[in-house]
Symmetry: C2
Subunit: 198 residues, 2 copies
Amino acid sequence: MMRKVQARSLATRDRLLAAGRGLVADAGMTALRTDEVVLRAGTAKGTFFAHFPDRDHFLAALLAESLRVEFAGLVAPADRPSLLGLLDLVFLRFAADPETVALLARFSGPAGAGLGLDRMICSVTDRLAEGLAALQAGGLVANRAAPDVLAEGLMALVFHAAALAQCPMPGDQAAVRARAEGLLHQMAAALVWPQVGG
Amino acid sequence: MMRKVQARSLATRDRLLAAGRGLVADAGMTALRTDEVVLRAGTAKGTFFAHFPDRDHFLAALLAESLRVEFAGLVAPADRPSLLGLLDLVFLRFAADPETVALLARFSGPAGAGLGLDRMICSVTDRLAEGLAALQAGGLVANRAAPDVLAEGLMALVFHAAALAQCPMPGDQAAVRARAEGLLHQMAAALVWPQVGG
DNA sequence: TCCTTTATTTGACTATGGTCAATATTGGTA
DNA sequence: TACCAATATTGACCATAGTCAAATAAAGGA
């Protein structure tokens, strides 16, 4: 029992993902329709749902793919500016799209186990924790908690800032984002820096 | 131009909300169907969407209603245990339901302006900020940032912990929640307490 | 090769959120 | 009261995510 997965199944999955990638590139995640995905991939509707439990899991897989590539070159920050820079980078990417924020809220935790998205987040968090550990040793980051706890906290702040930046009104989105980013910096500083201004 | 809202409109809205309240009490938010709401309320489908832009806004209104009642008696925490107690209370309520987490992620920011949910969150945040200001004066909370920034940060941590507690697997949900709560305490301590153990 | 079992695919079908042009009701005005 | 314009309601209709029993293709054993 429990024979191995057939090669054609993986191929089908790849075709579905490739189709999704194209559609997202064309018109964004929100506009993605499962019917169009299966049309492009040349499969039946049912096949899509045999491979992905629902549309959101499919989008999460695409997002994980994309983030893995974009964050592949991330290195552990070695000083405060690069720590903040890393947070900004991740924040900006997460705030790119309301759909992205919703997917992260749903799948970044244990709910996303085995989706790729969770591992992607973990890898960023780990990189962050690495940097924090080194900075703690140098006295540039406070010792109020273990590096991995601080890293998790920073990610929470980034998520929150990204959610704040999701103003659906078109009116100066840049201003909303800037405010969220400013708040993120203040909260992050309070979390990890030894003392104000220090 | 711009005549006032008619009384029957408010009555209809109230009937819709009452119907929704009953359905949520019976089977939870996830199981709520707009068709059942309008059936109970005795209105047409279109009326529902004339009053609420979509199902999620309706659920958000119900959630706001519910939270306003539950958090009505909240007072600004006067010491550390009651600060943590407040965080726990809010965390537990937010983690009650995956739907709740999703709604909060979507509507707690500027996206939820004028929904009731945003004001509800603000009122909790304000209460928290009040307490933090007093505790800062007493030296029990660090001065690394303004009280309202710290309050916002704490809420971010609570949201994140609630998201972490959303494991869809039925296997010991209590354990997952306990872990999330522990992490919340550590992160919160690092954010607002002057020094470790202090 | 043929047979059995398991993995994979299929597409018609269902469930449900959301739309909109038509209709009904109300409040104000002469 | 008669009329108009703004407001509110209606329900048939549409779009699309998701289901499932049946069909097909591959794997393994005799």
